[in-house]
Structures are given as structure tokens and as C-alpha cells.
């Protein structure tokens, strides 16, 4: 059994201009102790997946269909009150800490304590001890528990966010762009910290990012999102070595490799499509250098190519 098993998830936003299919028939799994990376451009629907799992989709958005199985139980079928047993205790979330993810009027320790006492009814003295231990775990001196968020640097705030996510000992942590807005050195430290915690605590991680290098650091499996759908789902090493989907290829071509030969970066031509009115057939075909006739008429299905899944007519055998 998978720890998290997302099946045919569809999350749509009913806006005045029409229905935005932010997540359109997406399935993937996260296993115990596994780190899965969800990558894609802005607006490709990757964060919407995370919010759907946490049941944070607000109107006009709605999870239209599909299942989100956690340890075999469908989270979407649960009532909100039942969902409280899962929320933060089983699945927690690391927000972008550099921004306003901590409440400016409470001390950092206080916010962690609140999260603990709210769910577990432990005494505040106990909770303070836990909070200080957690801060120590993420590399913040426990005396800083009494500092306010504005007294922390961006990296420390991100560490505090991680401590908060770990407050209730979850099995799965969803990290939504945990290193965005941090400088590269701090980014490195935070990624090391997450990798370290994953190993120490046996966490499963669902990492959401637009940065493939972050995924290559941390994850064993990558899910490449394009326009609300999965373009490619593959072990990270294989994907980096030999990307299958033209979009993945494009993404990797748009990256500098520190050890590679000197070459020009090749950006992907065009812009991400509007999800209000996505292109017919394969959603990538208007930007795809390999597009052929069938690509604009028929949507490619995810096809197994040597244990990897890819949605592209180059591999479906159609001509």
C-alpha cells in the first residue's frame, strides 16, 4: 500500500471567465520514506495538488472528482471533523517561510506551542519543551524561541516553518517551494536540513518546486506537470540522464550544468497555455519541436516506457 495515493484527481476553479482546470486527471503515489518532486511552471497546477491534499481549496475552486488515499483511506470522503485527525498530525505542510508564513505578532516558539496544544491538549510547559527541541532539531538555538519572526533571518524563518511542520510528528510533509526567495547558500542549507530530517525521522516528502535542481538534490521520483496534467513521471536519475517528454527535455535544456560543456541555453519557445482554454490534443503541442499531426487532435495517454510514464505521442506508437 502506498502512503499517499492520488487517483484521477481533478480540481477545477469556476471563475467568471469559465472553468479553469488547474488539476486535470492526475494520479501519482508517494511511498513511505520516499521523496517525490512535483515540478512545473507557474500556474501548472502543482500547488493546487498540495492544497487539494490539505483540503485548502477555497471557492471558486473545487475538487471535482478523484480520490486521495492516505494509508488506504480516502481523505476526500472524510468529514472535516474527521480530517482533523490527519491534518498536521499525519500530513503537514512547509510554507514559504521567507514570506509572511509566520504570524508577526507571536513569538516563534509560541506559534509552535499553539500548534501542539491545539491538537494534542498537552500542557503548555510540555509543549514549550517540545518546541525548543524542534527548534534545536532544525538548527536554531532554543533560546531564540522567544524571538519574533521579524528578528529572524529568511533562512531561520524557513527553519522555523520546518520545525512547525514537524510539531506533531507527521509521516508526510508537503513542502511548497521551501527554498524560493532564499539565496543559494541558504537554499543549500535548507535542502540539506530537509534531507537530513527525512533520513533521521523517516519522513515522506512531497516537494513542490519549479526548480529541477532542487528535485535532483532531494527526490527519488519526479512528477513533471504541464498545464494541469502529468507530462512525465519517472525516477529522478533516469529523467536527468534521458528525459523522455519533449517538455522535460526543454526544461533540462533551459538549465546550466556546472560540469557540462559550455553551451547556449535553449529556452522553451512560447508561453504556458491558458488553462481556461487549453490547446486541443496534447497541451504541449503548440510549443513542441517534435509535434506531428496527431498531437493537435488526440490527447496522449500516459504510457509505460521502461518503468517510466510519459504522455507523448512519440511513445504511444501512434503516427
Amino acid at each position: 500500500m502506498h502512503l499517499l495515493d492520488i487517483r484521477n484527481l481533478k480540481t477545477h476553479f469556476y471563475t467568471l471567465e469559465g472553468v479553469v482546470k488547474a488539476v486535470d486527471d492526475v494520479s501519482f503515489t508517494v511511498d513511505e520514506g520516499e521523496a517525490v518532486g512535483l515540478a512545473g511552471e507557474s500556474g501548472s497546477g502543482k500547488s493546487t495538488v498540495a492544497l487539494s491534499v490539505m483540503r485548502l481549496i477555497k471557492p471558486p475552486g473545487k475538487v471535482v472528482s478523484g480520490q486521495i488515499l492516505y494509508k488506504g483511506e480516502d481523505l476526500l470522503g472524510k468529514r472535516i471533523a474527521q480530517f482533523d485527525d490527519v491534518r498536521w498530525k499525519e500530513i503537514s505542510m512547509i510554507f514559504q517561510g521567507a514570506m509572511n508564513a509566520l504570524n508577526p505578532v507571536y513569538t516563534v516558539g509560541n506559534q509552535i506551542v499553539e500548534a501542539i496544544t491545539h491538537h494534542e491538549g498537552t500542557s503548555s510547559t510540555e509543549a514549550w519543551k517540545t518546541a525548543e527541541r524542534l527548534l534545536g532539531l532544525v538548527g536554531i538555538d532554543s533560546s531564540r524561541a522567544h524571538s519574533f519572526p521579524h528578528e529572524f533571518s529568511g533562512g531561520m524563518r524557513q527553519r522555523a516553518m520546518i520545525a512547525m511542520a514537524l510539531a506533531l510528528n507527521p509521516s508526510l510533509v508537503i513542502a511548497d517551494e521551501p527554498t524560493t526567495a532564499l539565496d543559494v547558500i541558504v537554499e543549500r542549507q535548507i535542502l540539506d536540513l530537509i534531507a537530513d530530517l527525512k533520513r533521521k525521522l523517516g519522513l515522506s516528502i512531497l516537494l513542490i518546486t519549479h526548480d529541477l535542481s532542487v528535485i535532483s538534490e532531494l527526490c527519488s521520483k519526479a512528477v513533471i506537470f504541464y498545464a494541469g496534467q502529468i507530462a512525465e513521471l519517472s525516477p529522478v536519475a533516469a529523467m536527468l540522464k534521458e528525459p523522455l517528454h519533449p517538455y522535460t527535455r526543454g526544461l533540462l535544456d533551459a538549465f546550466l550544468r556546472i560540469d557540462g560543456e559550455k553551451e547556449k541555453l535553449r529556452p522553451i519557445a512560447g508561453n504556458p497555455p491558458s488553462l481556461l482554454n487549453p490547446p486541443s490534443g496534447c497541451r504541449f503541442h503548440p510549443r513542441c519541436p517534435y509535434a506531428k499531426g496527431i498531437c493537435s487532435t488526440e490527447q496522449p495517454k500516459l504510457t509505460d516506457v521502461g518503468g517510466r510514464l510519459v504522455a507523448c505521442h512519440l511513445f504511444t506508437g501512434a503516427s
Partner: protein
């Protein structure tokens, strides 16, 4: 010494540090200190009205009618020989009490409406905002007069009227700030960790609003005191609880202006002005501290 005690002591210490930092900043504002001094002075007058007043405020014939200020009657007497200094002292009580109570209630109602409106949005928000629009658009004074005349002279009716019209400003300010705050990631994060609507509104949003609520509340005390004075001056005050405004009404009705009995007119007028200035100064000073982006150098 156990670890827990250390922690608690640390927390107490950091609270004290914050308080003293606040005082230091406040002391730097001359305007604020002056305002506070004025307010403290008048509150002391109000509290000590009993022992300070040489005569009962409504004792006719405490002196001759229209006596000029003297050692006997510091502020002279009115048309029936009542001691005006004593009246002024007791009037302080009424004026301040009305101001505080009305501003307090306006603040509570305004904050609730603003929070609910801004947080939930939608039809509820639409409804409250239209109510506020109506209350702001219709000319206040005539309607206040109407209400006051209809409800009859009582201090509680005056407070009701002042609150009825007074909560709108705070309501709007709190709503707009809530609209901005509720989109911030820490609210999303609170929701993700399982906080309900009530918890988000009162433990997560509310403390972030204190900085705009407190100065606004202090400024609304001025509005309430002036409002009360206005209503009372127009003869709609409560005769059993004579405020400064009502003193002016009597002065006007019983010929103080004709007889140029300045000692009956100037002191209550001056008191109203001074108290108004005091609260305004403190309000502005607090605003400078709580909203430092607006803070000016040397203010």
C-alpha cells in the same frame, strides 16, 4: 531551578522588555506625553470631583446669582447662585464617562463587524458595507436630534445614539485591514494546521489589528465627547447627569451670553477643547508608534 521556570521567566522578561520599549518610544513623542498629561489631569478631576468640589453642584443659592469668580466661588455662580466650579468638576465625570463608554462600545461593534465582514466576505460583507454607507451618508446631526428627541433625555440614550453612528469608521478600517491580512500566508498556514474560522479571526487576525484599532479607538473618544457636548448643548442632554455640554446649554438658555457671564461659558468650552486635544494627541502618538511606516522624524 527547573527548565520550565526558566522558560516562564524568560517569557515574563520579554514581555516586560516589550512594555519598556513601548514606553521609551512613547516618551519620545512630546505630543503624546502632553496629551497623556492632559488626560490624566482630567481623569483625576473626575475621580476626585467629590472631595474637590466645595459645594454640591446643584445647590441653589450657594452664592448670589451671577457672581463673578472670587475666592469663595472660583468660577463664579450661575443664574440661581449654583457654584460653577463644582458643576464643572462633576461635569468632567459625565463627559468622560460618556466618551469612554461610547467609544468602547463603538470599538467593539466596529471591530466585530469589520472582522466578520472582511474575513467572510460575500453577501455578509456586502450587507454590512451598505449599512455603513447609509449611516455615513445620511447627515448625522439631524438624525441624532431626531433620535434623541424620540428616545428622551437619558445618558444611556445619548450613548446609544453616539455608538449607533460611531462604530462605522472603525468598522471600515478593520475590514480593509482584515481583507489585506487574510490573504497572507500565515493565515493559510493556520488553516492548514487545523485552525477554525473563530480561531483564525480572534487569535490570528485580531492581534495583528491592535495597532490600528487602539489609535482609532482613542480618536473615537474625542468624537464621542464632542458628540455628547453637541447634543447636550442643543438641549438633548440628561439633566440629572449634567455634562460640560449641558452647562453650556444652560448658560445659553439663562442669559449668560446676554450678561457676558464669561465665567459660565469659557471654562466648560475650554475643558471640552482641552480633553479633545489630549485624546487626539495621544491617538496620533500611538498611531506613529503602531504604524511606523507613517512615522515622521522628530515627531
Amino acid at each position: 531551578m527547573s527548565k520550565a521556570n526558566v522558560t516562564r521567566r524568560q517569557r515574563v522578561r520579554s514581555t516586560l522588555q516589550n512594555a519598556s520599549a513601548f514606553l521609551k518610544t512613547f516618551r519620545r513623542s512630546k505630543m503624546g506625553v502632553l496629551g497623556l498629561a492632559i488626560i490624566v489631569f482630567f481623569i483625576a478631576l473626575a475621580l476626585l470631583a467629590g472631595p474637590l468640589a466645595p459645594y454640591p453642584p446643584k445647590l441653589m443659592g450657594a452664592g448670589q446669582p451671577f457672581e463673578v469668580p472670587s475666592a469663595e466661588h472660583w468660577l463664579g455662580t450661575d443664574d440661581v447662585g449654583e457654584d460653577l466650579y463644582s458643576q464643572l468638576l462633576y461635569g468632567t465625570r459625565v463627559s468622560l464617562m460618556v466618551g469612554f463608554v461610547a467609544a468602547f462600545m463603538s470599538t467593539i461593534i466596529g471591530t466585530m463587524v469589520g472582522l466578520i465582514s472582511g474575513y467572510f466576505g460575500g453577501k455578509l460583507d456586502e450587507f454590512f458595507m451598505r449599512v455603513i454607507d447609509v449611516l455615513i451618508i445620511i447627515p448625522g446631526i439631524p438624525l441624532m436630534l431626531l433620535l434623541a428627541a424620540y428616545l428622551g433625555p437619558s445618558i444611556w440614550n445619548i450613548i446609544f445614539i453616539l455608538v449607533f453612528f460611531g462604530w462605522t469608521t472603525i468598522g471600515r478600517v478593520v475590514r480593509s485591514q482584515t481583507l489585506a491580512l487574510r490573504e497572507l500566508p500565515f493565515i493559510e498556514s493556520a488553516r492548514a494546521s487545523g485552525a477554525g474560522d473563530m480561531r483564525i479571526m480572534f487569535t490570528d487576525l485580531m492581534p495583528n489589528l491592535v495597532g490600528i484599532i487602539v489609535p482609532q479607538a482613542i480618536l473615537s473618544i474625542v468624537g464621542a465627547i464632542l458628540g455628547e457636548a453637541g447634543l447636550s448643548f442643543l438641549g438633548l442632554g440628561d439633566p440629572t447627569n449634567q455634562s460640560w455640554g449641558l452647562m453650556l446649554y444652560y448658560a445659553e438658555s439663562y442669559g449668560a451670553f446676554l450678561r457676558s457671564a464669561w465665567w459660565w461659558i469659557i471654562p466648560p468650552g475650554l475643558c471640552i477643547t482641552l480633553v479633545g486635544i489630549g485624546f487626539t494627541f495621544v491617538g496620533y502618538a500611538l498611531n506613529d508608534i503602531f504604524n511606523p511606516r507613517l512615522r515622521r522624524r522628530g515627531a
